[in-house]
Amino acid sequence: MVTSRHALPDPPARLWRNPEPKRSYDVVIVGAGGHGLATAYYLARNHGIRDIAVLERGWLAGGNMARNTTIIRSNYLLDASAALYDHALQLWEQLPDELEYDFLLSQRGVLNLAHTEQEVRDSRRRAFANELNGVDAEWVTPDEIAEICPILNTSADLRYPVLGATLQRRAGIAKHDHVAWALARKSDEMGVDLIQECEVTGFLTEGDRVTGVQTTAGPIAAGRVGLAAAGRTSLLTDTLGIRLPLQSHPLQALVSELLEPVHPCVVMSNHVHVYCSQAHKGELVLGAGVDSYNGYAHRGSVHVIENQLAAAVELFPIFARAHVVRTWAGTVDVTPDASPIIGPTPYENLFVNCGWGTGGFKATPGAGWVFAHTIATGEPHPLNAPYGMERFTTGALVDEHGAAAVAH
């Protein structure tokens, strides 16, 4: 696990057309984030549906897709989650070739640290559960951690000493913008219309069907509609009287100046609450949990940044002399069980993919795959069958809170 500083690939001159919207499409996807783009891509690739528009209120992939810290992993505790996220990871592994685009997928390994005896037990349990589900996972001791990530303070004199960690070697990071552009280019090549600066403001309905969407560029008719609008999903479903268990929160992250390669992997700590990797260009990328309150302001509170910096400096003493260059926030849609909602709605041709909260980047191709299946067939794919909104009535939650508190 050695990092070196990479030059980023030059993006091709033109990646997609900027078409005027047609008056009608077989499928309209709302939101050109990673999930909306991956959904369009797999609708075209796997299901032969080409008459698709992806409508985006801002610019392509300018929402959470532009703001996330790009951690990819699949070491979730529960069977349904391990299946969903590992399917996504397997797709990641083949996408650079398939999309003919090197978006710098870097499987440099993710360490999830344990700082208390209880966390040691929980982490080992998760590693065993992962192994049973065919997801690569190892338990590593402080001495092994010191070899994998020499800049991490593994001495016993920390306030919360590192007692061990789980390691997923296949986990890592990728260049988020390039992922979006790669998916956009291939979708566009297959005939998908990617339409920017076109906000969906409501729906056209007939009985229990939606017949189209109302947009800032006028009404657009649709055979089927798929929502991939992340933090703004419930604003749309509210207009139909569908009440989803979503709360939209600011989620912040930050970067340092560009530094020589010092950090070879990804380190996450739920207990002192910070996670960190070093991007290809050299900046340290840090994040933690959401701001407590609901908000659409694309900004959070500074004490949340202060707390994660304090945690980072404790874990990585050499970071004390780095500087915060930039902080920012996205708006993430959080569910009560920290798992997404992917499935049908009371409207027979309207489908939702939302609730990915703080951790949906890693699922981008997998979410697109199962959501495309759901839209194309009208039925969930086996991988997203446990993730319908009815689980909040039946009580069959997919409760990943304990397993993935810093859920990115």
Binding site: R243, P245, S248, Y293, S301, F392
Partner: protein, 90 residues
């Protein structure tokens, strides 16, 4: 960081408070009468508006009392809620 007005202590920094989410979510009068759907709604579903939102805060590092404010979730402007805005429990 938000500056939050505790009705008893005045303007204080957000770090003195804990968030309590949507205000006026009463425990159902007769829980056994609720069907699964209504019970699920009570447990899991809360409003998530972009705009004014009546919400609960508790002044944990101060007087430790709960209160309701109205905050605009797009601008973070806060104002005290008028007592008359409290819907009576039926």
């Amino acid at each position: 960081m938000l500056q939050i007005r505790c009705p008893w202590c005045g303007d204080r920094e957000e770090t003195e408070f804990r968030y309590g989410g949507q205000a006026h979510v009463d425990y159902p009068r007769d829980p056994a009468a609720l069907d699964d759907r209504a019970w699920g709604e009570y447990l899991f579903v809360r409003d998530n508006p972009k705009g004014e939102f009546a919400e609960r805060w508790v002044h944990t590092a101060g007087c430790r009392r709960w209160f309701t404010t109205v905050r605009d979730t797009a601008t973070n402007q806060m104002r005290a809620e008028l007592p008359s805005a409290r819907k009576p429990v039926m």
